[in-house]
Amino acid sequence: MVWSRKIAYINLSTGKVEQKPIPRDMRTLYLGGRGIDMYLLYNHISPGIDSLGSDNVLMVGVGLLDGIPCLGSGRCDIAAKSPLTGAVGDSNIGGFFAPELRLAGFDHLVISGKAEKPVYIWVNDGEITVEDASHLWGQDTFETQTAIRKDHNDDDIKSVVIGVAGENVVRFANVRTGMKNSAGRTGMGAVMGSKNLKAIAARGTTSIEYAHPDELLDYCKEMNDMIIGTRWAKAQSKWGTMIIYSNTNTTGLIRTKNFQLNRLENGEDLEPEVIDRYSFGTSGCYGCVVHCRHRYTLKEGDSEPIFGEGPEYTSLGAFGTMVNCTKMDTVLKANHLVNKYGIDTLETGGLIAWAMELYEKGILTEAQTDGLKLEWGDEKVVYELIRKIALREGFGSVLADGFKPAIAKIGKGSGYYAIQVKGMSNLHSDERPTPSFALGIATSTRGSDHLRSRPAIDLYGLPEELLEEIYEGPVTSDSTRYEGKPRMIWWQERLYAVTDSIGTCKFQTVFCAVHAPKWNEFSKLIQLATGMEVSKAQLMEIGERIYTLERLFNIREGFTRKDDALSERYFKEPTPIGLPSAKGKTIDKERFEKMLDEYYSLHNWDQNGVPTKEALERLQLDKEPSHMI
């Protein structure tokens, strides 16, 4: 049964491992995955600690429904205080690791302290040991996984690992599994590296029991049919998230040359269909019918062909539009490089594009960039900067600390050109024409991010009645308007918090597909899988609790309303091109602040963004930290 899955406390300084049950109360309040991780984060991390010191604590959480045969239920949540932002560090990863960890007997790991020398954690059917990893140190993210399998002579071992960038404590180093999956954002790989923790490997052969197995099996089939019946999932199963490019590069919703344009000229080679040149099939995460990534090979000259998976829409931006590169070859190669080294594709692209604009403006010169000419569209510069960042070599080391320290180091007004929130890079989407998206990235608890609250369906211009039914209140259909958008963000925040806590994929709920499984379906899945009765209203409240607790963590670290902000350029520089809905747009400062007011009041937070006493009591957060686990 899900209930028998344990939490393990692993102290890397002492090597001590302690196993405990997870109280049922914890499940009814936080479900699992991100929810329980956030509880642990708030309870186990003291305010003001050094995120790269031994006081930081790394949480690994399996979603409540992980393992069931539907909706990509193999997701894992990795959390700690972020070395990139100093705020909530939290990143969700697909692939096959989380089900394996659960099959090995554990749902949550709380990793504290710092190992003296490189180690990895080995979880196998109820046992946890800390193993020597000196033979893995220096290996890339692919080699590491293969080497661990060899160590135990078992090809079915799944592990989450860091690459060389994590070892070098690049502040946006990620945690990776398989060929493609990454807990990409907020630098969880840097936290692992700072603890000398190279990997966590799992192998499990125990059984996960369910309350109503036959009905669950039937309902899972229904859920898979429901998601693959949507046009979005059908398109995604063919082209992956690259399909978004076709829309955004036509309309003018895509950041190009950092922030100078909103459409890539001569960008035809980045259209999703182009992947056919390289692809020999798609690949899916655990329990997923959508299989949104391609298996590709890239042949360059006489060298061995590169095999990789992806690329995501994010990489089309990071190593395409943002740096003004127009070739799919560049995107695929850069995608492979960041995956190999273990750095976040989005943050890397964001920083390189920023540096290129600084170079163009004369704020950076060759004297500071190790002689590199940071010219737009030069793919060799992109590859070289990726390498330098991962190895923390020369100018790469300046970028490897992320936006805030790099701005401080470079100075000369460079901060104005940095497109970031709370120290984390924005996605390459251009939010100036879409106030809802702009509010979402500004308020996201983990720094600028589209996966915390983006109401992607706002772009569809759906009938207002339908939208009001979904969002349960007054909203507007026109994506360029400000009215009603805070409600959309508030609703999506709670939905995504719950999705991350049950361990299913965000693409298999209301992200881009309107008629996708959501509250009632989740409620039924939870009931069939665990026997737990959780209504839609209760699920929404759990979402609110999780998001509010994240907010409390950030407030405790000194974040205020001032940090729920956008780069100045959003207010000052209008989008130069695009269709009428996208051209000539800026975010109106006054209306943005009004959205923020409304957003806070929907949450029952005060006008400084601090949750009211009443809100905390209602959500049973008034006694936190309560140290239940």
């Binding site: 393992g67 069931i68 045969p69 539907c70 096959f96 089900p99 099959l103 692919f142 996984q145 293969t146 090809d155 398989g178 060929m179 052969t205 125990t206 059984s207 996960i208 029991e209 369910y210 197995p213 036959d214 669950l216 099996l217 899972c220 089939k221 898979n224 693959i228 020999f280 099939g281 798609t282 690949s283 899916g284 995460c285 655990y286 329990g287 997923c288 019918v289 299989h291 298996r295 095999f307 998976e309």
Partner: protein, 162 residues
């Protein structure tokens, strides 16, 4: 028994829904190590191959079984093991060249695909259709068409070559 479980590894996306659904159906739990089907993966090469009993016409498992526990279900065509006769010697698992029979030491038994009594759950869950439960004639035709498609692509290349 005119249908077969037809496997097309080229369409497999490696999601392991087949394993998960199989174990949930047969064992009432999720545990891929108790599934009758397994996706063998070479992750770093992007190669995924579902491995499951192919229900041989002349089953080697049946030949080597010393107690006659293995027979064919006339209705479904599946080669099945009678648990009341099986003594757990594991010769079937040892000799099967397709790894169609797995050893379960915990319960002292052999795990083997029985085509779910004529409605295989794995095929139902396989949206990319790497697993299909179809008539043998249909399977033949699908193979022929796939081969013809490859041939036509080759022809096109030859005809358009400079």
């Amino acid at each position: 028994m005119e249908k077969i479980l037809f496997i097309d590894p080229e369409k497999c996306t490696g999601c392991r829904l087949c394993e998960t659904a199989c174990s949930l159906h047969h064992e009432k739990v999720v545990n891929p190590s108790l599934a009758r089907i397994h996706v063998a993966k070479w992750e770093t090469a992007g190669l995924y191959i579902p491995v499951v009993c192919v229900q041989c016409e002349s089953p080697i498992c049946q030949t080597v079984c010393p107690v006659g526990a293995i027979s064919r279900d006339e209705k479904t065509g599946a080669v099945v093991i009678d648990p009341n006769v099986c003594v757990g010697c594991r010769l079937c698992a040892l000799y099967c060249p397709f790894a169609g029979a797995q050893i379960d030491l915990k319960k002292g038994r052999i795990l083997k695909c029985d085509l779910c009594g004529g409605s295989p759950v794995c095929a139902k869950f396989c949206d990319p259709q790497a697993l299909q439960y179809v008539k043998a004639t249909t399977a033949n035709m699908m193979k022929q068409r796939a081969a013809a498609q490859k041939f036509s692509e080759l022809m096109k290349k030859m005809l358009t070559a400079p």
